[in-house]
Amino acid sequence: MATSVKVYGPPISTAVSRVLACLHEKEVPYQLIPVNMAKGEHKKPEYLKIQPFGQVPAFEDEGFALFESRSICRYICEKYAKQGNKGLYGENPLAKASIDQWLEAESHSFSPPSSVLVFQLAFAPRMKLKQDQGAIRQNEEKLKKVLDVYEETLRESRFLAGDDFTLADLSHLPNTHYLVNSSDMGELFTERDNVGRWWSEISSRESWQKVVEMQKPA
């Protein structure tokens, strides 16, 4: 399919999968361009031109290059405002502010401990790396505190930023998916009534299920 949008990176990467879920929600066609990280392709000069930090994903739309998964998602929502899920990043400044607030909570409260756990519990064993038990325990404690706050918020509202599924919820999909399905930490989510309900609702969305299919080994 001819399309102006290119995403560089493997779908198993949490940051890449965040962007893919957003493109699916917004019904934006795209071309997925593999980056062989085992061969260090993400550190080659050609790649560094579009992603100076040498990380995935990188993103191009009609030759306009962007990086950082959460800013790519915001861009997609604004550029393709009139298609797909129109409320994904809010339809007025107030809704947007509330979504930004929870996106930042994801970015600064949820992501740091959950990313350590994803790496230690889901990726380190595959990469035959030794797990750091101290880091696991410390970050499990941090994550529990964050999920306690989520539990209260989700008691009051169906989703984090209100009654609609938004980018704030979507941004939690990649890390939570690995913790629920590839680690023994799934109960942190499923044992909390409202977090569990929220997770089963957001993870069953077609947009995310398509990403999960793409993550399966060929």
């Binding site: 604004e78 550029k79 400044p93 607030q101 930042e104």
Partner: protein
């Protein structure tokens, strides 16, 4: 009604919002939250921010937490006054501002924050700074600054040839970082140094700096 900002002028995350309010020439009242008396864990404060962190902005009926979400809200709501921080007249430039604000949030902040915590935060709690943590994060910070040096040799500011929220967000942590023994990480890189000198000469940021006295009277 005047905006109410709950926080402390010495706090980095409060200073980020204060800097934005000054740039936008917006009047506000700073409501002191006494962290030492655990004012941030009082039910009345937790009702404003369930994570119990400062700052929190109240604007009429709207309550927002997360400093970077607050600055985005302020910069958007008051886009016609003061300095344009989000390039609202150009879609592409606005997208680049978002990319580099995420770079601050995801690359720069995770490296500089532990250094500031070890150097300023630990002694306040009667603890010894952990030099190994500082060294590991200095190494990360240097790598990020190498990318900044390259970027700032082609554009005057991070997102382009215009000052924006992306630059402003770096101010509070970098301000305290320059009071440590490792400020040469900034001042030895000519383009990073020129950028830092430029932004710290802005009247809005000079005004914020007056309140940032953490570590001076101890």
């Amino acid at each position: 009604m005047v905006l109410k900002l709950h926080g402390l002028s010495v706090s980095t995350n409060t200073a980020r919002v204060v800097a934005c309010l000054h740039e936008k020439d917006v009047d506000f009242e700073l409501v002191r939250v006494d962290l030492f008396a655990r004012g941030n864990k009082e039910p009345s404060f937790l009702a404003k921010n369930p994570f119990g962190q400062i700052p929190v902005l109240e604007d009429g009926d709207i309550t927002l937490f997360e400093s970077r979400a607050i600055t985005s809200y302020v910069a958007e709501k008051f886009k016609e006054t003061g300095t344009d921080l989000i390039r609202h007249e150009s879609f592409d430039e606005a997208a680049l501002v978002k990319v580099w604000t995420e770079v601050e949030s995801q690359q720069y902040h995770p490296a500089i924050c532990p250094i500031i915590y070890e150097f300023f935060g630990k002694p306040v709690q009667g603890l010894e700074p952990d030099q190994a943590v500082i060294d590991a994060n200095l190494e990360k910070l240097e790598k990020v600054l190498n990318v900044y040096e390259a970027k700032l040799s082609s554009t005057k500011y991070l997102a382009g040839d215009f000052y924006s929220l992306a630059d402003l967000h770096h101010f509070p942590y970098t301000f305290y970082f320059m009071k440590t023994a490792w400020g040469s990480a900034i001042s030895d890189r000519p383009h990073v140094k020129a950028w830092w000198d430029d932004i710290t000469s802005r009247p809005a940021l000079k005004k914020v700096a007056e309140g940032m006295t953490f570590g001076e009277n101890q």
